[in-house]
Symmetry: C2
């Protein structure tokens, strides 16, 4: 333990990032702040918003070429000056794409020991699960009988959202990028029908599947799919805007649906930023742990081994080739 391997952005990509846009670099071990902790990364979360940080369009800040990639991690405390964060325990922190990280005491949270496997603190019991719950339960207030459309339905947020909606008695229609993903969504996530976006026409499938219209659309995508979903919205339909996968890899920003269409539908469209729900994380974890223990929901993980695998894993995520929540195990 004399140096700290980390993944650095070396080139700001124009489109879908490639492995060569990142490089493994050695760095000195970080200084432990007074009263803080030194941690070793055990699991690193890879998420679409990171592409937005690279593009300089994310509220959490920009990652410029030459800088190490950021990200949430489950890390083990190696050395501690913080009595509430003892050595040997696991914490959740913004460790980044690196082996070791140092944090002030307030910047690392002790992991609830009920969270097993600990990587779930980055998915169903972490940010992506909280995003799904905040969007579908708190914001859209999905209820029995709602017809809910969820794109990227086997992804981290989509798969949690689908299960939460199905448990509340909604009809869930999913969209995914392969036959295997569609089968998984229908067999394991409570999705009534899943549309394969590469082989099926979404517009005509929605006409068949939702003749009375979509009550809730969880927008993780933006782009043309948002427009299509709007035309299938039922009167008083709700749209929760959450992600922009369709535009992360290009410089332009897509316009939204025409206001005339939203008026005609009496639509309610609301933007969701998960950070706003941080104060309710404990409440969410309690609800979700009960569902997990009762076997009512599952979390599929797509685990990539070793820090050096992170760039290729992230590129797979950006190409839509992950299958479940992407986590790098170190």
């Amino acid at each position: 333990m004399t140096s700290n391997r980390q993944i650095v952005l070396v080139n700001k990509p124009d489109g879908v990032p490639a492995r060569e846009d990142f490089a493994l670099r050695e760095a000195p071990l970080p200084e432990m702040p007074a009263g803080g902790v030194l941690c070793r990364t055990r699991f690193l979360s890879l998420d679409p918003y990171m592409r937005s940080q690279i593009a300089g369009r994310h509220p959490s800040g920009t990652v410029a070429p030459g800088e190490a990639m950021r990200g949430e991690t489950v890390s083990e405390v190696l050395r501690s000056d913080a009595p509430e964060l003892p050595a040997g325990r696991l914490v959740r922190c913004m460790g980044g794409w690196r082996e070791y990280s140092a944090h002030a005491a307030g910047e690392a949270r002790l992991l609830d020991e009920e969270i097993t496997p600990p990587s779930y603190a980055l998915s169903i019991l972490g940010m992506t699960g909280l995003t799904a719950w905040a969007g579908m339960v708190w914001q859209a207030k999905v209820r029995e009988g709602d017809c809910v459309l969820i794109p990227a339905v086997t992804g981290a947020v989509g798969s949690a959202a689908a299960q939460f909606c199905a448990l509340r008695g909604a009809r869930v229609i999913g969209i995914a990028g392969s036959q295997a993903k569609c089968r998984f969504a229908e067999e394991s996530l409570g999705v009534e029908a899943c549309i394969n976006r590469h082989t099926e026409d979404i517009d005509s499938r929605l006409k068949q599947l939702c003749p009375a219209g979509i009550n809730v659309y969880f927008d993780l995508i933006g782009g043309g799919l948002l427009q299509t979903a709007c035309t299938h919205l039922a009167d008083h339909g709700r749209i929760v805007l959450c992600g922009l996968m369709a535009e992360y890899n290009r410089p332009e920003r897509d316009p939204g649906p025409p206001p005339g269409l939203l008026i005609a539908k009496r639509a309610v469209v609301s933007g969701l930023v998960v950070y706003d729900f941080e104060a309710r994380r404990t409440e969410y974890i309690r609800e979700c742990l009960a569902l997990l223990r009762a076997g009512k929901i599952i979390q599929r993980e797509d685990v990539s081994q070793g820090l050096e695998s992170a760039p290729e894993a992230f590129c797979r995520l950006m190409r839509g080739e992950n299958f479940g929540k992407l986590v790098v195990a170190l």
Copy 2:
């Protein structure tokens, strides 16, 4: 009383309509349905949505060339087979741009005699007032301290909305099309500052006037102004989509604000169709009558004399040249 003069659409305009797109035609007196009423029009309401009917884009139906223009009227009952609608009383009905109209009993509503002048049943105590109340009070839930932006602020809906918001303790910023309108808004409608859209730069004025952002935008316009308003929205700002003046006179439909912007602002955007609030009209009239009687709100009317003046008055409305709620007195 042997024939019925009416205004017919003779040509479907591409852009802003001209007087020549309409013609005065004689028609036979309408047949009174069994159990119904024959009415003479006293006041005809002219409203922007009529342009959308001409364009074939309005949910209430299309007016095609050769057909008489439609519209809400305050009419006097001349002959009646309906005991609840006695001859001599005033009713509110869809009389259209004509002198006489006939209605089944269920299609005309007796005017509350408290509504004086009776033309107010077409404005502050009618559809445009109800639109303003539904949008600002029921839908956006405007409250003390909100900064509210209202375009077309001396128009029928805008002027009611401005006063309702000011009475609830909101800071109201208006936009209007002339210095005289801006002065009227500031002196008589409770508007703190009114931007002249022809002589001032709206973007930079909003920066000055609303440094902490806009909490509520009442969108009566669509187009570029909706985009501009969005960039000035405060976090958790609310947008009520209601009108599309910017696109009524052209065939294209404008796109909406980019979803990424709405996410960053945690915006809530909702479409408003006043017909949905018909069941609450009486509740609204009670609230509004109390405000009128207490001298807390006013209604400025732009009254055009004679049925033959309706085409030019409507064209003025479409050019933004009306000053107050446009009514034709017959």
